[in-house]
Symmetry: C2
Subunit: 119 residues, 2 copies
């Protein structure tokens, strides 16, 4: 049982769209990820997903609107809701989601990651 310093963990990787596991509790993982650019429209059929912005600015597009998240802001995307993360510049995000969650949800994409690294 060690504490986790977010800044130190984000300094350990530079690849985008590839979440790293930094903690687990109950049935969920805490993950850190860097986004840059536009991801892929997707949804998670059975999992709600939390996005907390730590550094930078993130837009999450929904089919009916866009939500911009700044540092210290989070949103919970309920299961079944299509969404598209877009980062104009690099952004650091903390994710919280069930262990079963795959980053691209119902879409297969070259950025799909199923074997997550722990840092």
């Amino acid at each position: 049982m060690e504490k986790v310093n977010l800044r130190e963990k984000f300094a350990l990787f530079n690849d985008f769209w590839s979440p790293k596991i930094v903690g687990e509790l109950n049935d969920s993982y805490v993950k850190l990820v860097k986004f840059k650019g536009e991801f892929v429209w997707h949804r998670h059929e059975h999992e709600d997903e939390l996005f907390l912005v730590v550094h930078g600015s993130l837009v999450i597009k929904f089919r009916d609107r866009d939500v911009r998240l700044e540092p210290g802001e989070f949103i919970i995307v309920p299961r079944g809701v299509e969404h598209l993360p877009v980062a104009e510049d690099a952004v650091q995000v903390l994710l919280l989601e069930p262990k079963s969650t795959v980053n691209t949800g119902d879409k297969n994409d070259q950025r799909t990651v199923t074997d997550l690294r722990r840092i």
Copy 2:
């Protein structure tokens, strides 16, 4: 589905040791709480609990050591592990834990809160 700004939410309350619900996902709540002083030794028999410090400095005492958390640091306390949060000065903390979790765990205390407010 609205975003949550942590700073704005923390400005809405001033009582200590009384977690407020600011989000729910899967089987868990996201809660915000202000601590000041020393809480009560307790454990959660069936629930892992995440403490993320947003503002201020928090010590979590365990039976064998103390861990100090600064802003941007979190720790996950596994189920069954006794712990005692201590805040020398006021501290703002984000909690993530199953909906079934009671703040004082296996202890009854005048600070036990079972009916949490949503903000």
